[in-house]
Amino acid sequence: MNANRFDLGGGEPIITLRGIAKSYWREALEIPVLQGIDLEIPIGSYVALMGPSGSGKTTLLNLVAGIDRPTGGTLEVCGHELNDLDDDELAAWRNAHVGFIFQNYNLVPVLTAFENVELPLLLTSLGRRARRERVAEALALVNLTDKQWNYPRQLSGGQEQRVAIARAIVTDPDILVADEPTGALDAKNAEEVLGLMGRLNADMGKTIVMVTHDPKAAHHARHQIHLEKGVLDRAVEVNR
């Protein structure tokens, strides 16, 4: 395997995968999903993880985000060897370092936009006022201050995804992970969300790993990594 093929530019790596493997078992039958992934992603990268359906994109993203554990290999993310953390430590680590953006937004329907964004802050030591300021900032950033008292059902899909982005960044995480963030949006709203993510990367220095199979979406990233049947196929720098 040629390391150069996965050169994502210089810089200090924030995500380091060494020989990462993941298998599922159906009874005695091992189903390998990821096989020996080696990858370094520098701080401030914006990576689009691409590949055919079933190639293991979501599985890889979940491992990087610390919501799943590998069956082989080690991964160091934001300075922590994730295999060394127990479940509760891993939860605290996610709260501090990772922001999640999902395909179907996953907002809590009984909470207002404001309350949804505030949710991850409940786990921090921040007081009420400090939380309120952080939420207001995050909502201003996604340009939804005027919708903060709306409930998810009173928002359009694009607005819901922007609330979800505000929720993902409100704790000021180092990494944003997004699994098909535009998969449920029309072209116009998708553009808006992708523009927002681009600014989060360019202006705020967030490292972003985004799973997508949409070439237009992937074009917003700075690098594209292609997965094929559980192995890294190639990395491409996006020319703009």
Partner: protein, 388 residues
């Protein structure tokens, strides 16, 4: 937003669930509270603190059979005996059959001494007692009964007989106060009124109430009395007042067992309904639970939130049910207190309320814990996939 706000809002997410659980808890806590209070009330009849030195002598064949009043002579002769009083349940009502309260024909010469705690004899003057003894058509009533009917001394109370075919017109000569409200829901009149008005009752009584000097003498006396009248035309069954009252209550069937049975059935039914509803509600939230955990909520934190929701929901229903039962207790007191005097004491005691709340808490924890625990053990990735 605070934790409680989060729990509260999640609680209201499914109106169907909230209504179902709160509604069924209100109903079942209400039922259990009323039934348990009924039991407490029935227990209190058999645990009248003043009944320790009294015996009831009745016909061996049952409460409805009569004994000759002449037995009194033998009873009086026993050295352990202080007083003997003939007492017959009259079962009359005032104006309306529903306006029914305990009323007795009793031996006016010994009634005060035999039941001196119940009549608050220490607070009565000799003149008051004499007023009653002087008037053969007089009666005495408890204060709460008098208050309820607006009676005062000197008023005439026409009673309509239900067991006996007479309708005596009685003049209130004395209103007494006692320490237990149930003891005040009573009217007594001269035994002669019954004997003279109802020929078949001449020389007969339903029971003798015997007061002894020392409670220790009771077992010996019981044995001697029943042996003395054995093989006579009217064999006796002598028992403590508590036992007699219990027998009276038992006429209604084995109430205590029935009540406990119903209580257990209600608790089981509510457990099933709650567990099922909670289980469905939690399973529907698989994706949301996964999102919470992805954001950094630990499994135990999510479990606590879900448990808090369940307990709050069930606690809410239980509290409402208790309030309802409390309100109903007043109704039971006024409606049933007239029919059966001991219901004048009917109330939802704090012990009953605590029992219901503790039971509800247990149901809430139990019914939530199993599905909540299962939900938080599920891998996060699986929960996220369930969005579809």
């Amino acid at each position: 937003m605070r934790w409680l706000a989060l729990i509260w809002k999640s609680l209201l997410r499914s109106r169907r669930r909230t209504l179902l659980i709160v509604g069924s808890l209100v109903l079942s806590v209400f039922t259990v509270a009323v039934l348990q209070s009924l039991l407490t009330t029935l227990d209190s009849i058999t645990s009248n603190p003043n009944s320790g030195n009294r015996l009831a002598v009745r016909h061996k064949s049952g409460i409805t059979q009569m004994l000759p009043r002449s037995y009194e002579t033998f009873l009086r002769q026993q050295p352990e005996v202080e007083t003997v009083c003939s007492l017959q349940w009259f079962g009359g009502y005032y104006q309306d059959p529903r306006n029914f309260f305990a009323n007795f024909a009793s031996d006016e010469t010994t009634i005060f001494q035999t039941f001196r705690e119940e009549f608050g004899l220490a607070n009565l003057t000799e003149a008051q007692v004499k007023e009653y003894l002087r008037d053969g058509a007089g009666c005495i009533v408890g204060e709460s009964l008098a208050l309820k009917n607006g009676w005062k001394v000197g008023d005439v109370v026409p009673l309509t007989g239900t067991i006996f075919p007479i309708n005596p017109r009685l003049t209130i000569r004395l209103i007494f106060k006692s320490s237990r409200p149930s003891d005040e829901n009573v009217l007594h009149f001269h035994y002669k009124v019954l004997e003279e008005g109802v020929p078949r009752m001449k020389g007969l009584t339903g029971a003798f109430w015997v007061r002894v000097h020392r409670p220790e003498d009771i077992p010996r006396l019981i044995e001697r009395v029943d042996r003395h009248f054995a093989n006579s035309a009217y064999e006796t069954l002598t028992e403590t007042e508590s036992a007699f009252n219990l027998a009276f209550v038992k006429m209604l069937g084995n109430i205590s067992a029935i009540i406990q049975g119903i209580t257990i059935a209600v608790v089981l039914a509510i457990l099933i309904v709650t567990a099922n509803t909670m289980g469905t509600a939690i399973r529907e939230r698989g994706a949301e639970i996964a999102v919470f955990r992805a954001m950094g909520f630990s499994a135990s934190r999510v479990l606590s939130l879900l448990l808090a929701e369940g307990v709050l929901l069930v606690g809410l229903g239980a509290a409402l049910g208790l309030l309802l039962a409390q309100a109903a207790a007043g109704g039971v007191r006024s409606a049933m207190g007239a029919v059966m005097p001991f219901f004048a004491d009917f109330e939802i005691t704090s012990a009953t309320a605590l029992l219901c709340l503790a039971g509800a808490l247990a149901v809430g924890l139990l019914s939530t814990f199993i599905p909540a625990y299962a939900a938080t053990r599920r891998p996060i990735t699986e929960g996220l996939r369930s969005v579809g």
